[in-house]
C-alpha cells in the first residue's frame, strides 16, 4: 500500500489533522490500532471542555493554540454537525486569600489573548449558580469556554475526512518506521507495510514509542489518570457553567460541569500512573472526585443516588510539559504531534492547521481541492432531542425512527442502523455514536436489542459481538453449550 501522508492515531488530534489534509489534493491515510475511532485513549475519556485559554503559561505552544482553537470551535462544530455549547466557565474562589490567584489567572488569560474575562462578586456568582457553595467569595468568568463531546468530535472528523477521500484503517497498529538515507519511507503495521512520504505521529499516549521508532527519543509520555463520575440527566440544570476550583500546579482541579448531552460530570483527578492501558477507577480516586465536587457544589452530596457511571481516562503528559509539534532534520518527513494533553481538544483545529504549515515547509506540495465538502451530515436523533416535528416527518419516511431501542436516551432502531452503516461494529461504537446505553440504566434494557441488531446487520454469530473489540466478547456460549461440553 502506498500513501503520501500517513497519520498515526485516530484520536481527536489525528482525525483533526486527517480532516484538515482532506482539503488538499494529496493522498492521506490514517491508522488506528483499535477497532474504532476514539477508542484508544484520551479522546474517549475526557471532560469535553473547550477551554477559554487562561490556564497555560503565556508563550507556550499550548497557550497559543488553545486561545486560537477556542475561537474556531463554533464553526468547526457546526460544519461537523456535532453539538457544542458555549456555556462559559467560572473559576471559583472559596476564600478571600484565593482572590489574588483569581486576579493572576485573569492576568494570564489576558496576556494569552482571552477576550471578555471578568471577575464577578459573590452575589452575581450565586445568581449564576444557585447550587454553588455558599462560601464562594468571587469568581473568574470566561464566557468563551464551552463543552463538546470529544469522541463524537473525533468520529465526525473521521467521517468528514473519509467523505473527502482519506483512507481510514482501523485495527491497524504501527509497529515500525522504515527510514532510508535520513528520510521516512514507510510504516510497518500488523497488516503489512504502508509506503509513505510523510508520517504524522498523533499516537497520543504512545506518541513517545512511535517517535522512538523514528529514532527521536528526547521526550516521554507519562499517562496521567483522571477519574470521573457521571450524574443522571435528571440533574440537568443543577449547574449551568463549567465550574473550576482554584487551579493547582499539576492540574485545573476537579471540575463540575454540564456535559454537552445534559448530564453533570465531576472530575478529573490527576495522578501519574505507569501503565498506558490502565483505565481503572480506584476507590481513592472516586472519593477524591466526590470531595472535589462537593467543595464546589455541596448539594451534590445528597445525590449519590443520581450517579449513573464512573470512568477513568489518561492524559498524555509530555516530559517537556508543552505540546511537541515539530518536524526534524533527520529523519525528514517525520512530524511529531505529541504530548497533546489538555487543552488538546480545544487546540485540535489549530494543531491541524499548524501541521499543514509544517508539511508545506517540509516540501509537501499542498494545493486546495476544488470540491472539498466541509459538512458532515450527523445522525438524526429526533426523539432523543425531542424534535417532534422532525420526528413526525422522519417516521413517515422510515418507520424505524418510531421504534425506541434505548428507553433512557430515546434512541431508535434507525439511529442504531445509521451508526452501523457509519462503521460501528461494537456496542461501544454504537453507544458513542447514538448514546444508546449511556443513560440511567446503562444499557440494561437496550443491550439485548442492540446485540441482536449487530448480529443481523453484520451477519455474525451472537457470540462474536463485542463491547469494544479485541476479546471483549459479551455472550460467550449459546444455550446448552456448557451442558453438551465444548470442543
Amino acid at each position: 500500500m502506498e500513501t503520501s501522508v500517513l497519520v498515526i492515531g485516530g484520536g481527536i488530534t489525528g482525525t483533526a489533522i486527517a480532516r484538515e489534509l482532506s482539503k488538499y489534493k494529496v493522498k492521506v491515510s490514517l491508522v488506528e490500532k483499535e477497532v474504532d475511532i476514539a477508542f484508544g485513549g484520551p479522546t474517549k475519556a475526557n471532560t469535553g471542555i473547550i477551554h477559554a485559554g487562561y490556564d497555560d503559561e503565556p508563550g507556550t505552544l499550548a497557550a497559543k493554540l488553545c486561545v486560537k482553537g477556542n475561537l474556531l470551535w463554533s464553526n468547526y462544530a457546526s460544519e461537523l454537525g456535532i453539538p457544542f455549547k458555549r456555556i462559559g466557565s467560572l473559576v471559583v474562589a472559596l476564600k478571600d486569600e484565593e482572590i489574588p490567584i483569581l486576579m493572576e489567572v485573569m492576568d494570564r488569560g489576558r496576556r494569552n489573548g482571552v477576550q471578555n474575562l471578568k471577575i464577578i462578586d459573590r452575589k452575581e456568582l450565586l445568581e449564576m449558580e444557585p447550587n454553588l457553595n455558599r462560601e464562594a467569595v468571587a469568581g473568574l468568568y470566561a464566557p468563551t469556554a464551552g463543552v463538546v463531546s470529544p469522541y463524537e468530535a473525533a468520529i465526525a472528523l473521521a467521517e468528514n475526512a473519509k467523505q473527502n477521500g482519506v483512507q481510514i484503517l482501523l485495527s491497524t497498529k504501527a509497529t515500525g518506521i522504515v527510514i532510508k538515507n535520513g528520510e521516512v519511507k514507510a510504516v510497518q503495521t500488523n497488516h503489512g507495510i504502508i509506503y509513505t512520504q510523510y508520517v504524522v505521529n498523533a499516537a497520543g499516549l504512545f506518541a513517545d514509542e512511535v517517535s522512538s521508532m523514528a529514532g527521536i527519543r528526547n521526550f516521554n509520555i507519562i499517562p496521567r489518570k483522571g477519574e470521573y463520575i457521571v450524574y443522571d440527566k435528571e440533574l440537568s440544570g443543577f449547574v449551568n457553567h463549567i465550574l473550576f476550583p482554584i487551579p493547582s500546579r499539576v492540574s485545573k482541579g476537579i471540575t463540575v460541569t454540564p456535559s454537552v448531552d445534559g448530564n453533570i460530570l465531576a472530575g478529573p483527578t490527576a495522578h501519574d500512573v505507569k501503565d498506558k492501558n490502565d483505565l481503572s477507577t480506584t476507590s481513592v480516586g472516586l472519593e477524591e472526585v466526590l470531595d472535589g465536587a462537593y467543595k464546589l457544589v455541596p448539594r451534590l452530596s445528597a445525590r449519590l443516588d443520581a450517579i449513573i457511571s464512573v470512568f477513568a481516562g489518561l492524559r498524555p503528559q509530555p516530559t517537556t510539559d508543552d505540546f511537541v509539534i515539530k518536524s526534524y532534520r533527520e529523519p525528514s518527513g517525520f512530524i511529531n504531534v505529541a504530548g497533546i494533553k489538555s487543552p488538546g481538544l480545544t487546540a485540535a483545529p489549530v494543531i491541524a492547521e499548524f501541521v499543514i504549515d509544517i508539511l508545506k515547509v517540509e516540501g509537501l506540495t499542498l494545493e486546495k481541492k476544488d470540491h472539498f465538502n466541509p459538512f458532515r451530515k450527523p445522525i438524526s436523533h429526533p426523539l432523543r432531542d425531542f424534535h417532534l416535528k422532525k420526528a413526525e416527518k422522519l417516521i413517515a419516511q422510515d418507520s424505524k425512527y418510531g421504534r425506541v431501542v434505548c428507553r433512557c436516551e430515546h434512541v431508535t432502531e434507525r439511529e442504531v442502523l445509521d451508526a452501523i452503516q457509519r462503521g460501528a461494529t461494537t456496542l461501544d461504537g454504537i453507544k458513542f455514536r447514538t448514546r444508546a446505553g449511556m443513560g440511567r440504566c446503562q444499557g440494561g434494557f437496550c443491550m439485548p436489542h442492540i446485540i441482536k441488531i449487530i448480529t443481523r446487520e453484520l451477519g455474525i454469530p451472537i457470540e462474536e459481538v463485542t463491547k469494544s473489540g479485541n476479546n471483549s466478547k459479551i455472550l460467550l456460549y449459546p444455550a446448552k453449550q456448557l451442558l453438551i461440553g465444548d470442543k
Binding site: T281, S283, L286, G402, K452, L476
Partner: protein
Amino acid sequence: MKRRVNLVVIGGGAAGLSAAVTAKENGIDSVLILERNEELGGILPQCIHTGFGLHYFNENLTGPEYISRFVKKVYDLGIEYKLETMVLNLSPKKEILAVNQSEGLIKLQSDTAILAMGCRERSSGALRIPGERPAGIFTAGTAQRLMDIEGCIPGRRVLILGSGDIGLIMARRFVMEGAEVKGVVEIMPYPGGLDRNLQLLRDFDIPLYLRYAATFIHGRDRLKAVTISKVDGNGKPVRGEDETIECDTLILSVGLIPENEISKKAGVKIDPKTGGPIVDENMETSVENIFACGNSVHVHDLVDHVTKEGEIVGKNVAERIMGNLPKLRKRIYLKAEGNMRYVVPQIISGERSLTLYSRVRRPAFDAEIRIGRNITVHKRVVKPPELIPIEFTAERLEDLEKEEEITIDMGE
C-alpha cells in the same frame, strides 16, 4: 386531533394488566394499555422458574404461566393495547404523547391514567465499583433475558453480587446451564432475598459471602476476576481482608429502582423513601385522576401482591370515571420512622379499613410497630426483603388519633 379515551394504562406488566382488566370488568369501555416491550407481561415472560401465584391462585406457577392468565383476560375482554410503544410524555391534564413504528407519534387525551411502569435494576456504574470496565458485567434481569429469551449464556464462571431474589434465582439458573457459580456476595450482614430463594444456595452448594463488597473489577477486554473485601458495620472495606475471585461474568442483583420518569413529567410527587409516587388509600397520586400501582409505586417481593394492588387501582379508577369515587377529602399523612423504612399508601382517610404495606431497614424479632400513640401491631419476625402488611381494621381505626400526620415507628 387527539383521540379521547377514559383510561390509559402505562405499562403492560403484572400491575398494568390487572388494573386494566379490573377497570374493564367494572364497566369502563375505553381502556388502552401502552407497552414498550414486544409482548405483554412485563418481566414475567422471562421468569421461567416457579413460585408465582401461591397466594393469588393457590397454585405454584412459572412466570409465563402466571402472566398468560392475565394476558388471556386482556384478549377475552377485548382490551386495546399497543406494543413497542414508548410513552414520551404525560401531562397533568392527562394528555399523552407516545410513539411506535406503525403509527408514529400518537397523541391521546385521557380522563384518567394509571402509572404501572415497573422498575429497573441498579447498574454497576451506580454502585461505583472501582476497577476496569470489561465486558461480562450484567444486571441479573438482563442476564435472565439473555439466557431465557435470547438463548445465550453470558459466561461459565460466575460471581453474583447482591443476594436479592433475582440474583439468587440466576445463581441456580447458571448452575443448571452448566456454569460454575463461585458465590453470592452480599454487603449486608443478612441476605437480601426471600427464604425460599436462599434455599437455592444450599441446594446447589453455592457459597454466600455476607458482609462483603466488590472492591475491584479486573479485566481489560473480558472480565477476569473480581476482588471482594470484608466490610465493617458502615459498609467500608476492612484492610487486608480481601479475596480475588476469578470469574468471567459478574451478575448484579443490587437493588431495583421504581421507574418514574413519566410520573415526574406529569408533576407527580415522588416519595424519596420508596422512589415511587406518594399515593393515597385509593392509590391516587398527587395529580388528580392519575393513579399508580405495582413496582413503580414501591418494589414488591411477590407478583401476587402486585396483581392485587392493580385490581384495587382498576376498581378505583372505574369508580372515579363513573363519578362514584371523589378525591380523598380527609387526609392523614403517614410518616415512617426508626426501623420502618417506608409505608404505602402514604396518605389515608382514617375512615376506611385497609392494608398498609411497609418495609423495615433491619431485621427484628418480636417487633412492636407503633402507629400514632394508641395502636401497636405485633410482628414475630420482620426482615428487609419481606413486605410487611399491616391490617388497618375498623377497630384499629377507632383508636387512631385524628391528626394530620401520624408516625409509624418501630423501637430498636
